[in-house]
Structure formats: C-alpha cells, structure tokens
C-alpha cells in the first residue's frame, strides 16, 4: 500500500476532485459557491491540480464575459480512486486493530 497522495489529501482539493468526478464539467462560480472558497484560494488549488495533470481548464469568452470550466482528467480519476483505496485500507487496518486488541485483564 502506498501512502496517501498529499496533493489530494488537502480538504479543499479532495472536495474539488470529488465534485469534478461526479459531474462532467463545473465552472469557477459553482466551485466557489459550493465550497465557500474565495476566488484566490480556488485559483491556487486549481493551479496545483492542473499542474499535476488531474484537471483540465477550458477558458471561453461569451460576449464580454470570460468563463472558466474545469473537468477531471483520466489521470485525476485514477489518482482519486487510488487515494480512496489507500484511505479504505488504512481504515480497515484501524478497525482490525481495534477488534483484535484484547482489553487489559485487571487483577482482582
């Protein structure tokens, strides 16, 4: 089992990738309002995810309004699936440890 991907483990980025894996495309406004992130914070997270190849950015201009859309890449889906697998494995180990550990016997 490899460790958890630090880039994905950060709460905001995990949520961004979770949302993008559930939908085809989400725009900047949707992610900002749903996750209560500021524009600067979201831009920073998206920049990191884009550099890692986990998301693709599509910028368009309709009239005078610019529009930025994000979608998850195949690599991003793969990394997220691996992250969940590793997290589940860690949880299972914790559960097994809790179940197998015998309570201390107290002398009467």
């Amino acid at each position: 089992m490899s460790g958890l991907d630090k880039l994905i483990h950060e709460p905001a980025r995990l949520q961004i990738l979770s949302i993008l894996s559930g939908v085809g495309v989400a725009d900047f406004n949707f992610l900002c309002s749903t996750l209560s992130l500021t524009k600067g914070n979201l831009s920073s997270h998206m920049d990191k995810l884009e550099k890692a190849g986990f998301v693709v950015v599509k910028k368009t201009t309709v009239g005078k309004v610019s529009h930025t859309e994000f979608s998850i890449t195949a690599l991003g889906r793969e990394a997220l699936a691996e992250y969940w697998q590793n997290l589940d494995a860690i949880r299972n180990i914790q559960i097994e440890d809790t179940q197998t550990s015998t309570p201390p016997v107290l002398d009467e």
């Binding site: 630090k6 880039l7 483990h9 950060e10 709460p11 905001a12 995990l14 949520q15 979770s18 949302i19 894996s21 559930g22 939908v23 085809g24 495309v25 989400a26 725009d27 900047f28 406004n29 949707f30 992610l31 900002c32 309002s33 749903t34 996750l35 209560s36 992130l37 500021t38 600067g40 914070n41 920073s44 997270h45 990191k48 309709v62 529009h67 859309e69 889906r77 997220l80 699936a81 969940w84 697998q85 589940d88």
Partner: protein
C-alpha cells in the same frame, strides 16, 4: 474505479458522498428537460392550431388557406429540426442555463457533453415529422381529433423513455412519459372524460404540457435538495477557515 456508478454503501460523513450528491445535482438540473418540454409544447400547440385551421378551411372549401397551412406545417418541420441540430440552438440553451443558474454556477453532467448522437437527432426529427403527419391526417379527416393523444403517446412515450435512459436523468423525469402514457391508455379505454367541441385538441395538449411541467418542478425541487446536501457535506468536511488551509507546498 472506486467512486463508480455502482454506489457502494458509504458511512455518513464519508467525503465520497460529495461526489454522489454532485452527480445527483447535475442530473437534476432540469434545463435540458425544459428545452425538450418547450419544443414539444410548441410543436403540439402549433400543430393543434394549424390542424384546427386546416379542418375549418377544408369544411368551408377554402383551398388557398388549406394549402397555406399545409405549407406552414412543412416549414415548421424544417425550422424545428434546424433549431435542434444547429450550434445556434446549443448557444441559446447555454444562455438560458446561465441566466437561470447564474448564481450557483454552471455544471454539466458527463452525459451532457459533446454533440448528440446521430440517432438522437434522427429520433427527435422523427418525433416532429410524426406529429405533423398526425396533424395532416386529422386535417384531411382521416383520423378523429380525439385520437391524437393516443397516437402521439405511441411515439412520444418510448422516445422520452429512451432519452431519460440515454441522458441518465433522475427518477423525476419518468413522471412525464409514464403519466402521459397512462393518461393516453385511460383516455383510449374511456376511463378519462374527454373535452368535447372546439377545445378537443386540449385533450392532447394539456397532458403533454401538464405532466412535463410536473416532472420539471419535481426535478427542480430535487436539485435544490441535492445542492443543499452537497453544500452541507462540503462545509462539514472543510476546516473552519478554508482560506487558511493548505498543505506543505505553500499557502494559497
């Protein structure tokens, strides 16, 4: 893929629920449904109106008016088919979406991406042509006007069902074809009272309009609930000050 469509059971608080509710929200936004609904309502209303005028023209022996109406029916086929497949039609839909959902942002489900398959356009074009032919048959008094709902349902019910499965729409979308089909069967078997006289066409238009509208309202209400759940889950699993949170690679 762990977070696939199979939906394994998840514990409350699992961040993967965010993905599920995002998916449900995206599939419950009723805009694509609204466009189909508006098309069908316009089509049935237009055909109904033209059929009524054509019948009147034939009864009064007004050949010029009758030919004009038949020409208009043909023109409306071309217009509706063009709108449904042209990039301009797509842009209109996108602008409506932005206008209605501007504050909460734009989301499209994976199934909404890319151009429609050829068979979708063909079956949609078929729907229009089929109804225009029905209108013409009623105009020529080859079909009783009361049977329009029944014959309409024979095409529209399977068409809507296929579209719902193809677009992976939510449970709410089934309200339209199921109720429209049951209503048509009930009317055909005589269990549902029919409007008589000059408003006979309402027997077809009201169910098409009404059940589609009910389905859209149900979908819209479900999308509000899905968005509420999504935001609640996101806020519950986010640190108190998200702007201050970042990893060891540097702050935002």
């Amino acid at each position: 893929m762990v977070e696939g469509r199979s939906h394994p059971p998840l514990q409350p608080g699992d961040p993967r629920l965010i993905m599920r509710w995002a998916q449900r929200y995206a599939k419950s936004r009723t805009i694509s449904f609204l466009v189909q609904w508006v098309f069908i309502v316009l089509m049935l209303s237009g055909i109904g109106l033209m059929t009524a005028i054509a019948q009147m023209a034939q009864q009064t022996g007004n050949g010029a008016l009758f030919n004009t109406i038949v020409f208009l029916m043909g023109f409306s086929i071309v217009l509706l088919v063009w709108f449904s497949i042209s990039p301009w039609g797509g842009e209109v839909i996108w602008r409506i979406t932005q206008w209605l959902y501007g504050k909460e942002g734009y989301v499209a489900s994976e199934d909404d991406q890319g151009p429609s398959s050829w068979w979708v356009n063909v079956s949609f074009g078929g729907l229009i042509i089929y109804h225009v032919v029905l209108g013409l048959l009623i105009s020529f008094e080859k079909l009783p006007v009361d049977s329009l709902h029944f014959w309409s349902a024979l095409y529209m019910v399977p068409f809507l069902m296929i579209m719902i499965v193809y677009q992976h729409l939510g449970f709410w979308a089934w309200i339209w074809p199921v109720c429209y089909g049951l209503h048509a069967a009930g009317a055909y078997l005589g269990y549902i009272p029919m409007i008589q006289g000059q408003w006979q066409l309402a027997n077809s238009i009201i169910p098409a309009l009404g059940y589609g509208f009910v389905a859209m309202v149900a979908g819209h209400l479900y999308s509000r609930f899905a968005l509420y759940k999504l935001r609640s889950l996101a806020r519950a699993s986010m640190p108190a000050n998200p702007d201050a949170s970042d990893d060891d690679e540097g702050g935002a």
